[in-house]
């Protein structure tokens, strides 16, 4: 077995046996699962208690302007059916969670017309009541009385419905059917994007579908971040420990610094991939039931793993080299922060990336090797990225990986024998030229 593989194998074994690694690998899915389960349970009980209490908001129409026919018209075209259809697609174990978020569906209270404020007040099932005063047409004012304070948020859906009902009643009979439908139903929007050549492409305007596409990059970001953080963190820790307890000198008497660094990065990469594999296996069942809910572009299946591995190697190498600079684990970890931040920086610009997935910022970030892995994967999940951009971005990434490996090996060789005061960047640069 070559020495590089020996180093890689030891690094792999040492990492996967670490307590921290085992906790992260097996604990993370458990914690996430528990969290999801907890949310589902809460959602379920919230929904049920809302149903049971069947809250009633009363309306006392002293101005006599509300027309029941107008309400039907509003309800028919208000578009909540669309939302319910969407909810049907959601796997059952997640539905409670989602429903809880969409309070308009789960918590819309029953609106009931009543004759007088006194009747509403005396009915224990009534939480709150609106009064449309007799002079409403002149004053344009509605009053709300509620049993408990802080009711505003809860009754917002009722207020929205009531407003629409009042307007529909005022317009009832004035508008023809078609105008009325246009008035009350949400208007479908078909968005197009046009490139410099004038070709246009239909885009999903449905916000919900965009959110579905967003789930993939979001998950990718989290997995990428955690894997890079944990495994390159171990790499850095390992190097710093070996330096601290001088094992490094024995290793260097047997292998070259290049073999040592490369072996370590490979071993860590393997450990990181193992971790992800375990996560995917544990998440297999929920993931399969999520599949119809997620949206993939085929290109993602190719780009994501490539960028994942390249990004892994890039950051692993950097972390290994910079881990060698400190006197102890703590000092070395300060360097790690810099690169971790660089790795996830596109995430901070995600609002801009989502708005303009093919904009200038997106392009620039795709060509910078430190940010390209995340940026390109985020972009491919949001829009059609021109193939040349992906190819150029990959070439830049490969080239910089090649350079980084060479420079890191030098830095590593210098750093691992460095004890005492922390070197300045100028000194590091000089040594690297000398090494």
């Amino acid at each position: 077995m070559s020495k590089l593989l020996l180093v890689a194998r030891r690094e792999y074994m040492a990492t996967v046996k670490r307590k921290g690694f085992l906790i992260a690998t097996f604990g993370m899915p458990l914690i996430l699962g528990a969290l999801l389960g907890f949310m589902a349970v809460i959602g379920f009980f919230t929904a049920r208690s809302v149903q049971q209490s069947s809250r009633v908001v009363a309306i006392v129409d002293q101005a006599q302007i509300l027309k029941p026919e107008a309400r039907e018209e509003v309800t028919r075209s208000s578009g909540t059916q669309g939302l319910e259809e969407v909810l049907e697609q959601i796997p059952s174990f997640l539905r409670g969670v989602v429903e809880q978020q969409i309070d308009q569906v789960a918590q819309a209270p029953e609106l009931r017309l009543m004759d007088s404020p006194e009747a509403a007040r005396d009915d224990p099932s009534v939480d709150a009541y609106y009064v449309i005063p007799q002079d409403f047409l002149q004053e344009a004012r509605v009053e709300l009385y509620s049993r408990t304070s802080g009711v505003f948020d809860q009754d917002r859906p009722a207020w929205i419905t009531l407003q629409r009902w009042i307007r529909a009643s005022l317009l009832f009979g004035v508008l023809d059917d078609n105008t009325s439908r246009l008035m009350w139903s949400p208007l479908p929007l078909q968005a197009h994007s046009f490139g410099p050549q004038g070709q246009s492409e239909e885009e999903d305007s449905d916000l919900f579908k965009q959110v579905k596409g967003f789930v993939v990059p979001y998950l990718f970001t989290i997995i990428f971040f955690m894997a890079v953080m944990s495994s390159s963190g171990y790499l850095l820790q390992g190097v710093a420990e070996e330096k601290e307890n001088r094992v490094i000198e024995i290793l260097l008497s047997s292998v070259t610094s290049n073999e040592l660094l490369a072996g370590k990065v490979l071993g860590q990469c393997g450990a990181g991939l193992t971790q992800i594999a375990v996560w995917l296996l544990i998440a297999f069942i929920p993931a399969v039931s999520l599949l119809p809910f997620l949206e993939f572009r085929p290109v993602q299946f190719i780009t994501a793993p490539i960028y994942f591995i390249l990004g892994f190697l890039l950051f692993g190498t950097l972390m290994g080299a910079f881990g060698s600079l400190g006197n102890n684990v703590k000092e070395s970890q300060q360097w790690a922060m810099v690169w971790s931040f660089a790795a996830v920086s596109p995430f901070f610009a995600i609002a801009i990336l989502m708005q303009q997935p093919n904009g200038t910022l997106a392009q620039v970030l795709s060509f910078i090797p430190l940010t390209s892995p995340l940026t390109v994967v985020l972009r491919t999940s949001m829009t059609q990225v021109p193939a040349w951009e992906i190819i150029v971005s990959l070439l830049i990434l490969l080239l910089s990986l090649f350079l980084v490996v060479r420079l890191s090996a030098k830095l590593f060789r210098v750093g691992i024998l460095l004890y005492g005061k922390r070197p300045s960047l100028g000194e590091i640069f000089r040594w690297m030229r000398a090494a």
Partner: protein, 323 residues
């Protein structure tokens, strides 16, 4: 394995760590690298191990520069212990052995043999950090010899060992030497070199101050005197004798230049003296070192004084010019 170093220079910042050092280690010998802390021993060793590169100079192993095959035949025990603390003893030794190119089965068989030899078999499945300092040191020594190297470089190998274990390890060194292994032992404990080493080089402030076979060096640097107990006691005025002083219960006889101790002994016997004890009055390496180092310091101090004086003169001249 024969090593030769030619004119090695190594500078760190303004400090000359190794200042033009040359020496050779003959194959199969136990060579002592001596010097006080900060003298440049570890720097020399790191250059020998190709961990550092000399600024100039050549290092040859059996006549050629270090390469991958040679590296497998050399092992190294660094001064500050290098073991994976959180791993089992057997995994650490096996890993180091395999990095030197041993097969898995060879590594294991040889490891078991050495563990038994140093009475550490019971600790094989313990984690390194669970062992005492002395036992960790033994593991370190095993990992050095387990790969059957031709050259072993040991930096302060006996530190942290109790007298019993020092003895055990010394006998291990002797056995390995018997087997033909070349051993380079770096230490600041002069007595160990005196006891164990065939040859030595002493370095002080990056400069070679002593070099050669240990016996020769001691003889060279000792006074031309013998210690003697005899009846009747010696009196001044003997032929070939400079002077005689009492030395503990014995007499210390300083011989005139050119008089060999054996000649002097023969003369005493012929004169009918009954000799109970006769030995060369040798300095210990420690005494020699103190002497040599003091001379070196005096030289350095003289240099400083001269330099200061020169600066003073220049300043004086400068003042005169301005006047």
């Amino acid at each position: 394995m024969h090593i030769s170093l030619h004119d090695i220079y190594k500078q760190f910042g303004d400090k000359m760590a190794v200042d033009g050092v040359s020496f050779e280690v003959q194959s199969g010998r136990l060579f002592g690298l001596l010097g006080p802390n900060g003298a440049g021993k570890t720097t020399l060793i790191r250059m020998l191990m190709d961990i550092l590169q000399p600024d100039s100079g050549r290092i040859l192993y059996d006549g050629r520069p270090l390469d991958v095959q040679l590296k497998d035949r050399i092992t190294y025990l660094p001064e500050e212990r290098g073991l994976y603390l959180k791993q089992k003893v057997r995994h650490v030794i096996e890993y180091f052995a395999r990095l030197k190119g041993l097969s898995k089965s060879d590594a294991r068989a040889r490891m078991e043999w050495y563990l038994g030899k140093l009475e550490m078999s019971a600790a094989a499945d313990q984690k390194v950090e669970e062992l005492s300092k002395g036992n960790q040191q033994k593991i370190q020594l095993i990992s050095v010899f387990v790969s059957a190297p031709d050259l072993v470089i040991l930096d302060e190998p006996f530190s942290g060992l109790d007298p019993l274990n020092v003895r055990l390890c010394k006998s291990l060194l002797a056995e390995e030497k018997e087997r033909g292994t070349t051993i380079l032992l770096s230490t600041h404990q002069m007595s160990q070199v005196e006891e164990l080493c065939d040859d030595l080089m002493m370095i002080s402030q990056g400069v070679r101050v002593l070099y050669g076979p240990v016996r020769e060096i001691i003889h060279q640097h000792s006074e031309p005197a013998v210690l003697i107990t005899c009846r009747p006691a010696l009196t001044n005025g003997l032929e070939g004798v400079e002077r005689i002083v009492d030395h503990n219960s014995r007499q210390k006889v300083f011989l005139r230049e050119g008089v060999k101790p054996s000649e002097f002994l023969g003369r005493l016997v012929r004169q009918g003296h009954e000799i109970e004890d006769f030995t060369r009055a040798l300095y210990s390496l420690e005494e020699i070192f103190v002497h040599v180092a003091r001379e070196a310091n005096l030289l350095a101090a003289k240099d400083r004084d001269l330099a200061q004086q020169a600066r003073g003169d220049l300043a004086q001249q400068a003042r005169e010019v301005t006047l």
